[in-house]
């Protein structure tokens, strides 16, 4: 039971091991705040869609299961989108279409197909939270480095001291561009793999 929750965080991480959800990891991580919001949104959607599908798993006819899954996910995504618009309007504008595109995030459908359809609601919930957080951790790490090195800020606050700029330091514009997100993800994979091989 514990494995179900722990595995996606490291050994079977959806982003760095299964290579899922890469597009959104590139698109929303130029700042830390949208990364955190995106991580939470995906966690909520994966967890609750897992629970709902797990509850319905015996009543869903096998032939139309994909469309049922889509309806559930779409409904949850719409709820998340509306909540964000109501309580975090600025961030939801920054994330724009990417909240809506959680529907197409392979992690969500992947977990429904691979886990929720064959397991009870509680493990399904843990699996969803684990995968959402596994995805979220990577997003937050990437967002942290991209905002720190690209803009010199974290959550919009300036963290690099002015002294450094006087000495000639400059923000790295490449960090804001999507290619660098790919390279940061690659570095995370590099470190993670070499660590996992040793242990």
């Amino acid at each position: 039971m514990k494995e179900v929750f722990i595995n996606p965080l490291n050994r079977n991480n959806p982003v760095t091991v299964q290579m899922l959800g890469i597009c959104s990891a590139l698109a929303v991580t130029s700042k830390l705040e949208p990364s955190v919001v995106m991580a939470l949104s995906v966690t909520v959607v994966v967890a609750f869609s897992n629970v709902i599908i797990s509850l319905l798993r015996k009543t869903i006819p096998n032939r139309i299961r994909i469309i049922v899954q889509l309806v559930v996910v779409a409904a949850l995504v719409t709820v998340v989108n509306e909540v964000l618009k109501a309580f975090a309007y600025e961030v939801s504008k920054q994330l724009s279409v990417f909240i809506g595109l959680i529907i197409t995030n392979c992690i969500v459908m992947g977990r429904l197909e691979a886990f929720a359809l064959a397991n009870k609601p509680w493990p399904a919930f843990l699996d969803g939270v684990g995968n959402g957080l596994g995805y979220g951790i990577i997003l937050i790490i990437v967002g942290f480095f991209r905002e720190l090195l690209g803009s010199g800020t974290l959550f919009g606050f300036r963290v690099i001291p002015d002294k450094l700029y006087e000495w000639g330091y400059e923000n790295n514009g490449l960090m804001i561009l999507p290619p660098m997100a790919l390279i940061v993800v690659a570095c995370i994979i590099w470190i993670q793999k070499s660590k996992n091989l040793n242990s």
């Binding site: 000639g168 400059e170 790295n172 514009g173 490449l174 561009l177």
Partner: protein, 400 residues
């Protein structure tokens, strides 16, 4: 020489397994094979023995770059004294330029070789000579005022992410020096283009203090064309008009090594005579660029489209890229026909980027990197086409 050989033989046991400095074995091996031709040869199978190893070809490229380097140093001083309105004589100009360029070379080599040595030691491999050329190219293709820490960062990035992760020397997909420049270009755009960076106006180690005169403008001829309103008109830093001859000799602002087409020509001759660079690639880059320019001349919609073909290849880094970058044997196609295709497309894209995208006044870097990615694909189709034509020929003969 004998003395050095004896000394190396004397300290060699320390670096072999079990010796005191075993940890630095690859460093010692690298140094030894750099100083002397290794005497180990293959014992089994059939081999072609050739004295032209990687070290030899790398050294020739570095020698071919030396005219550009020396002229670049002189030009740095020349542009500086022109901008402060003094004339201290040629030697002081050269000294100023020498002291300005030297730190760039030192930083580029120190960082790049440091990473190469560390990786070789870590993997237990021999040190490859591949960085000798990249380390010399990087200082030559950046503006003189690039901060040293940026050079260090870009070099480290290029060596690790464009070379070592692909397996080291000879396995890289893209030209390493150009990756370093591309990193700088996208990470610190204000340092890599514009009017402020190509002429050093401050003093270097106390030499060349002075006030910049009023008429000064540090825009490169290529930059002036990008921002031209009516027709392209190129001037030097004091506003005097430039002709083809000035562009050819290279006393114009620009990246350190790219300005003098005469020195690039000397390097090109050396590379072609020794057979290190391929004339097919080189010629087709120029032809591709000139044909595209002629085509744009006919369309004639913006001032940048009115530049004639000769001017286009004399401007900016076109010639430097064509001679030293596009011909890189690792990142260009291996097949003969592929070389023509590759070169022609590099020239075409360089001109298209220059002329059609005002945001990127210099297109050579992006054109070469872009085509580097396609080099294996070009090779693949050339080989496929050759196989198919041979099969067809065989069928025809078998029917006869």
């Amino acid at each position: 020489m004998k003395l050095l050989r004896n000394y190396l033989d004397q300290i060699k046991p320390h670096f072999e397994p079990g010796g005191r400095y075993h940890a630095f074995q690859s460093v010692f091996g690298g140094l030894e094979s750099f100083l002397f031709v290794p005497n180990t040869t293959s014992k089994s199978g059939t081999h072609i023995h050739s004295p032209f190893d990687t070290k030899w070809s790398m050294s020739v490229v570095v020698i071919a770059l030396i005219p550009c380097l020396l002229f670049g140093m002189f030009n740095t001083g020349y542009q500086h004294y022109l901008s402060i309105g003094e004339n201290p004589g040629g030697w002081l100009m050269f000294l100023y330029g020498f002291l300005s360029v030297l730190p760039l070379i030192v930083v580029s080599y120190a960082v790049g070789l440091g990473i190469e040595f560390t990786v070789a030691q870590w993997k237990g491999q021999e040190i490859q000579e591949g960085f000798l050329v990249s380390g010399m190219l990087i200082p030559l293709i950046v503006p003189i005022d690039t901060p040293l820490w940026m050079i260090a960062l870009a070099t480290a990035f290029a060596v690790i992410f464009a070379k070592e992760v692909f397996g080291g020397t000879g396995y890289n997909i893209w030209n390493v020096a150009l990756i370093a420049r591309a990193f700088l270009f996208f990470a610190y755009p204000s340092r890599m283009s514009g009017e402020q960076v190509f002429v050093r106006t401050g003093s270097t180690f106390g030499i060349g203090k002075g006030q910049v005169i009023d008429a000064f403008s540090g825009a490169t001829p290529l930059g002036q064309i990008g921002s031209a309103e009516v027709s392209p008109r190129m001037t030097d830093v004091l506003g005097m008009p430039l002709d083809y001859w000035d562009l050819f000799l290279g006393l114009i602002p620009g990246s350190v090594g790219e300005t003098s087409k005469l020195c690039i020509g000397i390097g090109a001759v050396l590379l072609l005579v020794t057979g290190i660079a391929n004339w097919r690639t080189m010629i087709s880059v120029f032809v591709g660029g000139m044909v595209t320019t002629l085509f744009l001349n006919v369309i004639d919609l913006t001032p940048a489209m009115r530049i004639d073909p000769l001017e286009q290849i004399l401007l900016g880094g076109f010639a430097f890229g064509a001679v030293f970058m596009a011909t890189d044997p690792v990142t260009s196609p291996r097949t003969q026909a592929g070389k023509y295709i590759f070169g022609g497309l590099v020239g075409m894209f360089a001109v298209l980027i220059r002329v059609l995208n005002p945001g990127y006044p210099e297109g050579m870097m992006l054109a070469i990197l872009f085509m580097n990615s396609f080099a294996p694909l070009i090779d693949h189709y050339v080989v496929e086409a050759s196989i198919e034509s041979r099969i067809k020929r065989k069928e025809i003969y078998s029917k006869l």
